[in-house]
């Protein structure tokens, strides 16, 4: 190394400690209180039963250029999924870039799709050249929300074994399965539950990446014109289904 990073570390921390304990206040304005701030209040609101939360989630997703359908059960969601993939794929033998069957909320989904003439590509190592090229050809990506929020139309995807980031990132269309039981009112309510169950820290640290996605990829960089699908998907379509039977 060109310089000693540990020496830099100690010097920076020492400077900060000196500044904080020195006679001169670090802020121009004095603080109103010295107590640590409490847990932040929810910025957005939603309430109602699961059905109503599902509708609010969908409406919010539509507001940000996404789309959704609410289906009665897993069977109906599966039928709709087959229809959409056949409509969206460019060629009949084109693969869907997907999460592994066991990471999806419909029993034996991979097998059922194969029977319907849809093959899934579940990548194992995207740093491999040929795997990467194969993944890049897919037009449809299939995942499932680990959590969703009614008040903002956001979904949460956690990376992991059989849960590639690429499936929600590379294809132009992203199909996301949203079991109703995973819809929460707000992001803050979801965090509160995880915190209460002492699961928040492990949820964040077990996965390499957690992503909150709220609608399709967008930009307004060109003279404020809204364009969709700049890098990520242009279509984010949520198949919400009742899994509480």
């Amino acid at each position: 190394m060109i310089y000693d990073s540990m020496e830099a570390r100690d010097e920076i921390l020492a400077r900060l400690r000196r500044a904080l304990s020195g006679p001169r206040p670090i802020f121009r304005e004095r603080s109103d209180s010295s107590a640590p701030p409490g847990t932040p209040t929810a910025v957005t609101q939603a309430d109602g039963d699961l059905r109503s939360l599902a509708k609010q989630f969908g409406a919010k997703l539509e507001e940000v250029s996404g789309s959704y359908e609410i289906l009665e059960d897993a069977e109906e969601a599966f039928q709709r999924l087959v229809q959409l993939v056949k409509e969206w794929r460019a060629e009949d033998d084109e693969e869907v870039l997907s999460w592994a069957s066991r990471a999806l909320p419909i029993e034996n989904l991979g097998g059922l799709l194969e029977e319907s003439g849809i093959s899934l590509f579940i990548p194992e190592d995207l740093h491999d050249e040929s795997t990467r090229a194969r993944a890049a050809r897919a037009n449809v990506g299939l995942t499932s929300a680990d959590a969703a929020f009614a008040s903002t139309g956001s979904i949460v995807l956690a990376s992991g074994r059989g849960k590639s980031r690429a499936a929600s990132l590379l294809p132009l269309r992203h199909l996301v399965l949203v079991p109703m039981s995973r819809i929460h009112t707000t992001v803050e309510a979801w965090l509160r539950t995880l915190r209460h169950d002492q699961a928040l820290s492990s949820f964040l640290r077990v996965s390499g990446q957690i992503v909150f996605i709220t609608g399709p990829s967008k930009s307004a960089d060109i003279e404020l014109n809204l364009t969709l699908g700049v890098h990520g998907p242009r279509v984010v379509h949520a198949l919400i289904f009742d899994d509480t039977w």
Binding site: Y3, S5, A8, I12, L13, R15, L16, R18, A19, L20, R24, P25, I26, F27, R28, E29, S31, P36, P37, T39, P40, T41, V43, T44, K60, I122, D125, L126, H127, T152, G160, G162, S164, R165, L169, E188, R195, L200, S201, L204, R205, S207, G208, Q209, V211, F212, T214, P216, S217, K218, S219, D221, I222, E223, L224, N225, G229, V230, H231, G232
Partner: protein, 470 residues
């Protein structure tokens, strides 16, 4: 480029003011963004959000060394490599060393002001490494060979016709002003870069101390690509980016989204807690986090900690009447423009003489303070910085001479009366001569009244006496 970032401040301002197209673009964009921001804040309890966002940022700065140590230990626990850098040179040294060790030839970057601050692209290119900006706006300014002119909307100063011309020239595509087609061309071009890049470099919006998590906010998804596709991910985070918890980060994410673009939340909020785990198909094999000081600890030492609360939403820039006239490039070789830029630029490791004019690039109207999501009193910081410039005798010689003359006149009633009589008679002409003619280049000289206030006062007193006598 209409504005030469290396020219003196007043030259830059004159160049910007002479460009009518620039001012039309700025007007339209800043009005649009601040309108959307106002709407998004009207939908919620704005005061509560500002109070809470300000409080969690203050808490983080007040506990900075402890939170940084906690962050470091959790990042390492998550499998990250942590580096500390006192200044830009050290940060660049670390990145180049990682690139050399890993045999990196191609780098993709997501939008990051701190990488602009340390001049990363130049350093990589000088070492023969190809670096591509992947935010659409940043990609356009990179093709044009210009710096970004706004922290949220880097290409705010360009019309679609300019962008069409740049794409036509650089990407060898037919001339078109259709934003969707331009966007699709950028997608094709950049997708290829993402797939071949060996290293991704991102900034960091918030770093969660409790879990060792780096949070990046984007709308396009380029941030997530940079953090997910290359084998190596390097994060450069200013030391002030650390926050206590996931709850605090989620609050600030919403505050930033509403204030930057008027969205409830940004499209992507990517939280990386280290390299890919065993069995993961994608994600980097190595994740490095560089914690950069570069003048930030000195800002606290000097008592300007308020400036480190900033979450880079750009709301203060969009409402600033000065920025709306001159745009970002007139602030010089700094990625930070507008009111927060006029504060941060002289406070960071920039030469005080090069940045001495920026605290004066404000009318102190207070619009920036009113919109700031973490309640930074920007006019106060600007005023304090002005007095530092004056105390250090860093203000221009002519101005100091003028101030001395002013003080000698104002402290001597006889001189003041004589000069005021002269002004009343010759008021229309004295503005045409130096030094006032220079001052008037960027300001209007008020008309002098035909009668002095003192004369009016005496006359009124006389009238009253006469009235009383009658």
């Amino acid at each position: 480029m209409a504005v030469d970032a290396g020219a003196p401040y007043l030259t830059r301002v004159r160049q910007a003011l002479a460009d009518d197209g620039l001012r039309a673009a700025l007007d339209r964009a800043t009005e649009h963004l601040s309108g959307r921001r106002d709407q998004a804040m009207a939908d919620i309890d704005a005061q509560l959000l500002r109070d809470e966002a300000g409080a969690v940022r203050r808490y983080a700065i007040e506990h900075l060394p402890d939170l940084l140590e906690q962050l470091e230990s959790n990042l390492i626990g998550n499998g990250c490599q942590v580096h500390w850098a006192r200044d830009a040179a050290e940060a660049l040294g670390v990145i180049l060393e990682i690139a050399r060790e890993q045999g990196v030839g191609d780098v993709v970057k997501s939008k990051s002001m701190v990488t602009e601050e340390i001049g990363l692209n130049d350093a990589l290119e000088r070492s023969g490494i190809n670096v591509v900006e992947t935010d659409l706006g940043e990609f356009i300014v990179q093709l044009a060979g210009e710096p970004p002119s706004h922290i949220i909307a880097p290409v705010i100063h360009k019309r679609v016709e300019d962008i069409a011309e740049i794409f036509h020239r650089s990407l060898d595509m037919p001339l078109t002003t259709d934003p969707a087609e331009l966007c699709a061309a950028a997608r094709r071009e950049l997708r290829n870069e993402f797939l071949i890049a060996d290293m991704g470099v991102s900034g960091c919006n918030f770093a969660i101390a409790e879990t060792g998590t780096i949070c990046v906010v984007t709308n396009e998804g380029n941030g997530r690509m940079v953090m997910s596709l290359p084998r190596v991910h390097v994060v450069i985070a200013g030391i002030e980016k650390v926050v206590r918890s996931a709850e605090d980060a989620v609050l600030l994410w919403q505050a930033a989204s509403r204030n930057a673009t008027g969205q409830d939340v940004s499209v992507y909020f990517s939280l990386s807690s280290g390299p890919r785990r065993r069995g993961d198909a994608d994600g980097p094999d190595e994740m490095h986090v560089i914690l950069l000081d570069n003048g930030r600890s000195r800002i606290l030492e000097r008592g300007y900690g308020d400036a480190t609360l900033c979450i880079r939403c750009g709301a203060c820039i969009n409402v600033c009447p000065v920025y709306r006239e001159i745009g970002g490039h007139a602030y010089g070789r700094t990625p930070y423009s507008g009111p927060i830029g006029a504060v941060l630029t002289p406070l960071l490791d920039y030469d005080i003489h090069a940045a001495r004019d920026l605290p004066f690039a404000s009318s102190l109207c207070g619009a920036c303070r009113d919109v700031c999501p973490v309640k930074i009193d920007l006019p106060r910081l600007l005023l304090d910085l002005r007095s530092v410039v004056v105390e250090r005798n860093a203000s221009p010689m002519g101005e100091r001479a003028a101030m001395r003359a002013y003080s000698s006149v104002m402290r001597r009633p006889a001189r003041y009366r004589a000069l005021a009589r002269l002004a009343a008679r010759l008021g229309r002409f004295i503005g045409l001569l130096p030094p006032l003619s220079i001052w008037r280049r960027s300001r209007d000289l008020p008309r002098f009244a035909a009668k002095r206030f003192g004369t009016l006062w005496l006359e009124r007193a006389r009238d009253d006496e006469e009235g009383a006598a009658e």
